[in-house]
Amino acid sequence: MSEYVLELKGITKIFPGVKALNRVQFQLKPGEVHALMGENGAGKSTFIKVITGVHKAEEGEMFLNGAKVDFKGPRDAQAAGIAAVYQHPTSYPDLTVTENIFMNHEIKKRGLIQWKEMNQEARKLLDQLDADFKPTAEMGALSVAQQQMVEIAKALSTHAKIVILDEPTAALTANESEKLYRIVDKLRDDGVSIIFISHRFEDMYRLATRVTVFRDSQYIGTYKVDEITNAELIKQMVGREITDLFPKPDVTVGAEVLKVENLSRTGYYKNVSLHVRAGEIVGLTGLVGAGRTEVVESVCGLTKANSGKVYLNGNEIRVKNPTDAKNLGIVLLPEDRQKAGLILEWGLGRNVTLPILKKFVKNGMINENEERNLSKRLLEEVDTKAVTIFDPASSLSGGNQQKVVVAKALAQDNMKVVIMDEPTKGVDVGAKAEIYAIMGELAKQGFAIIMISSEMPEILGMSDRIYVMCNGSVTGELKRGEATQEKILEYAMEKNANEKSAVKKEGVN
């Protein structure tokens, strides 16, 4: 038996015009959890696709247990015991868990699918993962975390010896992540080798023994996790030093701008009261499904609250639709910026001006010169990495897409309240720092900022005040000085798991 279960040497992958991987190497020891880190576009995903046989490398060799292999397609990789769980679960939402697990390798006898055996087998796999749902459940009814478990079960059902997890915690809350960690631990104890891609440092520290860093399509190095400091690792990933990840400026907080009083929406949240002042960054946290997004959606007129009041600068307001919110100066930067924040196939410039087109109208027609000049100025102000304002938004990385969304908010010059829902989700560490800097800058300019986030470090690092939600209610409010991870978690979890919450459970997901 060789030292490594999987070894890749000098892998080069060329896409027309671009070297996506440039002579990279990688070694995976048996039964280890190996983190693969790097910024977006560093080549991690391409590399994974080379391992799983989706892409064929132009150069380089791959060894499995010391023997050279040459995968012609994903099927070969699967047969060799390699399975990948991708970032976005690639499931069939209308089918059952069992059907999803055994998709393409159903248990058959004389050409007929053996449902009973398959369900039993699925049950076994799910038990192994401590899953709390039935194999006959419909995939679409499960939470993201549960769907991920199904994906892992699917990997196990192929008897994979090497499992690749591509950003599995990106959509998970702290609790769910912890559960995933335990699953990974268990898999490792069972002798499965794991490659783990993540932007979250917590994941890496918790799970991995070694970490390999890619940058700009190149291999930078492999380090033992307990021998490298956080700062050093970031430097390797970004290629420069980031001195202050959370540049929270000292701002004198002004008058109260937005106040929400006893807002309720049946099935989603109940009696929520919160306020935010000018120049203040208010963190809104809690587990996914606690009702955070639902509250701000009602504030922005996307949904209707059943009762409660909202005040802007002391005056009661009624926001019936997003147009009202826009006219009042309440701007939401939605969590799903690709589906709700941007028009991906459009140029950056037109994305920025979408909410404020009326401003450029002269004699009924849009003055495109003025429009272009404004979007250029705003996109430069937030330092977007783009060549022209006509580049499609889809061509940018997650961090730069977020900057475009910020520019779009800034275009609305009546803006008073900025609500950012998971502003750094899917954003790599270098761009994260830039987005925090922008957020700090917005606070300095006197905007009232609400930041919804599941990421503890950014909630603690950026907020002046923190509201914690659980099951549709605000369960705690903490000041910057007094907030700690433990206190937040305490508020975020149900005190008594058996106690029926005030809010209907089904509506919350």
Binding site: P322, V387, I389
Partner: protein, 334 residues
Amino acid sequence: MAGKSGRTIEATPQDVWKKRIFSWEGMLVVLFLFINIFCRCLSPNYTVTNVLREMPKYLSEIFLLLPMAYILMLGEIDISVGSTVCLAATVACMATNAGVPFVGVIFITILTGTVCGMVNGFILLKFPELPSMIVTLGTQIVFRGIAEIMLGSGGSVSVTNTAGFRALSGEIGPFPYVFFLVLICGAVFVVLSIKTTFGRSLYAIGSNSRTSFYSGIKVGKIRFLVFTLMGTFAGLAALFLTSELYGANTTTGNGFEMDAIAMAVFGGISTAGGKGKMVGGLISAFIIVCLRIGLGQINMNPQVVLIILGALLICAVLIPNISASLGLKKKKVK
């Protein structure tokens, strides 16, 4: 603000004319010229005067193309317009026969179309999760059903007093009135789609209705407006169709919706929404009209003409697809 890198972003469009010429619309212009030369070679009767004389027969469909293009840009579809034309034409004939003055007939006909469009728009406004294909399939049957009840057992109606309609199909020199109206409406639709916030909203909603809604665009209102506009133009088309046929029957307007959709798609307006240009739709409409006139003049079997048009349409949607997939392969880097 955070502009520490001092990076600048280019904001002047490059090679505007080059891009215009090498676009789908540019190709359509070439094809339009080619088709006309082709028809001229084919038929000695294919002269400007003759073509213009025959054109009104086909022009009513261009009235349908204009709002249909908007509907497709929204990512929606309306397959009820053929029935709307039938109903409006029936109303026009009956109103004329009932002795309503011609101005009143014009008003009632357009109103009938508008109401039909509003019905579609209203259903889609109140139930935004319903697919427009199914809603308009339903109203397609309903509108034609109403027309058939009005037409009664005979199934057809003829205009007894044709004076008004004959005046409507008049000409200035070789140009029929309707030709000017089509051009004016076409120009307005083109300008609206590229120069106004309304036009930009159409493309925005068609590309991503959720982002548009979040950005404060009144998605429901615009959708309602465009479907209503579709109805209004169906009424207009019915008016000019009646001035050609002096009557209506249960098959009036049959398949018009598909012709309008075909013209738009041939013009590069994708049924998926958010793509294509109004100009392209207009040019393609005239290409199809000219081809029909030319092939009609050499007495080609109308069924064969249909086959040719169908094949042309498939080629038209295939070409951008093929070039897009080639382009995708080049860009697929990550």
